[in-house]
């Protein structure tokens, strides 16, 4: 399987923040969920991939190009939705389509209109009058209407109601039906990623904590609940990566769920959600 995006040892230093040795892939035909708390480095990583932030070190390849090449000869094959950056809000979708037709050789007016109809986006209304959900839909369908092979989406669904989010997730699943297509989707709405992501990359304080398939992750991590008295014995086996003390017991995030379950069958050991994993890493580190 080819990789749409390959990142090896990416470093980027700011005055008060740094990306350190970021390494992961976005395989062709897959949706990769990029998770992490606010300020963890998701947007900086995405900007480095796109060449709009200059890396201090490491290698990045996007559809076989370097970020510099990508920025200089931005590929028609990449569709991007950033948390900021789009057309001015006085433009109407019809205007955006007219401009994009001159920006992209592959711009598909018919497809854009079809998406607008499907998602109830009025073609003749300035998008400043759109609700937040409609604005996000417009950005996403604009990114899709030139037939890209790779979608890079930075927090596209944040702040949306569940109905709109569900519409968008369906759109991503439609897009990924073509095996040559890939999506890098940064989000901290982990329930969305649990529904659609094939791989999860977790970044914390500028470092990649893990990059693995979602199924492996859900199998590997578990939240174990035990009393404080049981804890020393369990800790001998458990690969604890986070701990949360409650009034009566202790919750531990373990990264060797199978071994722990086999060793302590009577102890409550539930599969960890992505939310649990993020929370334990961010807050419950030992």
């Amino acid at each position: 399987m080819e990789n749409a995006i390959e990142i090896r040892g990416l470093n980027k230093q700011y005055k008060d923040f740094a990306l350190k040795d970021v390494t992961f892939n976005v395989p062709e035909g897959a949706i990769v969920g990029f998770i992490g708390e606010n300020g963890a480095g998701k947007t900086t990583t995405i900007k480095s991939i796109l060449g709009i932030a200059h890396a201090d070190g490491g290698e990045v390849s996007i559809l076989g190009s370097t970020p510099e090449q990508q920025r200089r000869n931005a590929s028609e094959d990449v569709g991007v939705v950033m948390d900021t950056g789009f057309f001015f809000e006085m433009l109407r979708p019809a205007d955006i389509s007219n401009v994009c037709a001159r920006m992209y050789h592959n711009w598909d007016r018919g497809l854009f209109q079809e998406y607008c109809r499907r998602f109830d986006i009025p073609m003749k209304k300035p998008y400043k009058d759109f609700s937040k959900g409609m604005r996000v839909k417009l950005r996403i369908i604009t990114a899709l209407s030139h037939h890209p092979k790779l979608l890079i989406l930075d927090e596209p669904t944040s702040g949306l109601d569940p109905v709109v989010r569900s519409d968008m997730l369906d759109l991503f699943l439609d897009f990924i039906q073509d095996e040559r297509h890939s999506i890098l989707l940064s989000s901290h709405i982990t329930s969305d990623l649990e529904k659609i992501a094939d791989y999860i990359v977790f970044i914390h304080e500028g470092r990649i904590v893990f990059s693995m398939s979602k199924d492996d992750m859900l199998q590997q991590f578990a939240v174990l609940k035990c009393s404080k008295e049981q804890l020393p014995e369990i800790m001998e086996v458990a690969g604890a990566v986070g701990r949360r003390d409650t009034k009566f017991d202790v919750e531990i995030l373990v990264d060797n769920a199978t071994e722990v379950r086999a060793a302590f069958p009577s102890v409550l050991c539930e599969s960890a959600s992505i939310d649990d994993i993020m929370t334990f890493f961010a807050k419950g580190e030992q």
Partner: protein
Amino acid sequence: MLGMLLKDYYSLRSYFKKQIFLMIVLYLILALALQNMSFFSTMMMMYAMMIYMSAFSVDASSCWDAYACTTPVKPVSVVGARGLLLLIGIWGLGSVTALISMCGDVLLFGNPATETLGVFLAVAVVYTFVGIISLPIFYKIGAERGRMAMTILFIVPFVAVIWVGSMWDTLFGGISWESLNWPLIVLITLLVMVVLCVVSFLLAVRIYRTKEY
């Protein structure tokens, strides 16, 4: 580049659609009252400069430059379209309004057309210089601070002209305005303007191409 100009048109049309008629009427009335139609073309060229500055502000408010970097639009097209907007505004709108001004001056007030033409050319050259020098500045420091820098740039040529005028005898004693080789001065000015346009454009493209967002 056409797409970028179209984008600017769509972005700015709602702001300027109604205003432009008001400006035309207002400046025409003022020019007639002053019995000086050059005022009309001068103010309309100033209006073109406002459109140019507003285009940067509109782009900044929508973070357009960063978005454009993720599309196949070349930096040359992004910057070139903005330079073209400036030239179309000053020389396009300026020519049309200067023609109206010349007709008005000749027919209504009996002023010589050459005087109106001279004012138009002088103002257009100064505005072009200021606009083109500010192009890389806008890309380097952004719309808001760029607007400030452009205002300062406007002051410089006017202060220079007033200073040279007041110091003429001291600086060039014995040389009269009439004896100057004006065709040569116009030619040199145009050459300097062309060179400045090219250098400024290339610098702006370089800044835009390497800027981090």
